[in-house]
């Protein structure tokens, strides 16, 4: 990132981050808090034991409308929106013609539109891709005046249901519109930490007051991008631009579950022939989880070598996992070496460090299934 402070965009919570002592860094064109005074480790563990509040307003929030909009959106991504209930969230991807991932996203069908949440760094190119790719008559509007908060952790439901009792029984991966404490919110039971929790879309000009209300609860602490990254890594969730990108397909990335059953039969999305063939024949390489010994973090870019010392793969993201209490990483390995328990070595500063292919998530997921 070469952005200077002046070029950086600010979310509606920027002043609050600064007031709370956030260490601000450039991230996807925004000036964002990487951590608060408690530090990444404490923030991470607090989110796993109580509740953490994240500002994710830099992400894109997009409303797609038009005639037969669900079917229209299905031409660009492999989710089953046509047969979906309203408010059911779908983790999916925009794909190129080779089946490579242009972005991963959340798509949620409603009565007259499809709502999408897009990665911050990709949102402008995603919107352009949607506008070009969707049939004439579809409209794509970024809701740039909205903020997005995530409240994550085992206490999230207890905290938020004090303001809105209805949220307590929402199921994982559902979204609904709800007034909370007088604020019109679009709330979902979802998140990217492996914990139970919510994401709340709300008008930007009411976001700071809303965030303060949540932070007034002792169980809630603000969490920065640093802990957000270590939490999602422990949860085994992909980070776009690192674990997945235009050169990886969902099948190589072990995200086959996100290709809807009905779409596997019909196809009809970009790269469908390649993706369907990969599902049938399996791919030569595959994304795996890796867990190391000791404490030395194994980070993105580290080479993975086999017994013979040959480079067989690369780490795509990695760190020390504060809850796993071990070095955890994701990377790509040949299928023959992708079984959990397989021993492999990661090269860190010229030294080989033993790692094992591990099942993900590295920590137990605690989603609310109702």
């Amino acid at each position: 990132m070469t952005d200077t402070k002046e070029d950086l965009a600010r979310t509606p919570l920027h002043a609050l981050h600064v007031e709370l002592g956030g260490r601000m860094v450039p991230f996807a064109g925004y000036d964002m808090p990487v951590q608060y005074p408690d530090g990444i480790m404490t923030e991470h563990l607090h989110c796993r034991s109580a509740a953490g509040l994240f500002d994710v307003s830099h992400m894109g929030q997009v409303r797609v409308t038009g005639k037969d909009v669900r079917r229209a959106v299905e031409t660009l991504l492999p989710a089953d929106l046509v047969n979906s209930e309203e408010g059911r969230m779908h983790y999916s991807f925009l794909l190129n013609d080779k089946g490579g991932i242009l972005d991963d996203l959340m798509a949620t069908p409603f009565a007259d539109h499809v709502f999408m949440v897009l990665n911050a760094a990709c949102k402008q190119s995603d919107i352009a891709h949607l506008k070009t790719g969707l049939p004439v008559g579809c409209e794509v509007v970024e809701e740039g005046d909205k903020a997005l908060l995530a409240l994550q952790g085992p206490e999230a439901a207890a905290v938020l249901s004090e303001l809105a009792p209805e949220v307590a029984t929402m199921s994982f991966m559902t979204m609904r519109d709800l007034d909370i404490a007088g604020v019109p919110c679009r709330i979902s039971r979802s998140g990217y930490t492996g914990e139970d929790g919510y994401e709340i879309s709300l008008p930007g000009d009411q976001a700071e007051a809303f965030a303060r209300k949540l932070l007034a609860d002792d169980r809630v602490k603000p969490i920065g991008l640093g802990a957000r990254d270590s939490l999602r890594l422990e949860a085994g969730l992909c980070l776009y631009g690192h674990d997945i990108d235009e050169t990886t397909t969902p099948i190589e990335a072990a995200l086959t579950w996100a290709i809807a059953k009905s779409r596997r039969a019909e196809g009809g999305f970009p790269g469908d022939s390649i993706i369907l063939k990969q599902i049938a024949e399996k791919t030569p390489r595959r994304r795996v989880g890796l867990i190391g010994e000791g404490r030395a973090p194994v980070r993105e870019g580290a080479e993975l070598v086999n017994e013979a010392g040959e480079v067989v793969g690369t780490v795509t993201s990695g760190s020390y996992g504060p809850s796993a209490e071990a070095p955890v990483a994701m990377g790509y390995l040949p299928r023959a070496l992708s079984e959990p328990g397989t021993e492999i070595k990661a090269v860190v500063r010229g030294r080989e460090r033993p790692m094992k292919v591990a099942k993900m998530p590295f920590v137990e997921r605690r989603y609310y299934r109702g």
Partner: protein, 125 residues
Amino acid sequence: MSKTYYSDEHEWIAVDGDKATIGITSYAQEQLGDVVFVELPEVGKALSKGDEAAVVESVKAASEVYAAVSGEVTEVNGAVEEEPGKVNEDPEKEGWFFKLKLSDTSELDELMDEAAYKKFIEGLD
């Protein structure tokens, strides 16, 4: 009597005759955040000024520690390998990294004293 010097790479070097104890400053540990791993040099290794001497890793990133002075490593602090959190808790005492037998004490003249280092970090904020 020992005297403590500081480098612009945020190391402290406590010197007693030709023996030096080296660690990172409180300012440096604050910038790094929670330290989760420290890689120390091997005892007996000869370091020239500017050589990579150690690596300190936080959750977020790895940072190299360069030798601010030349010398031979005589001792390393196993306690910070076992408990890297010591670097955050007590960076300028218990959290020391390694000791050197200095090969050229005149290199110390290029380092800062405590007052100059204080001024240096004030200028960084």
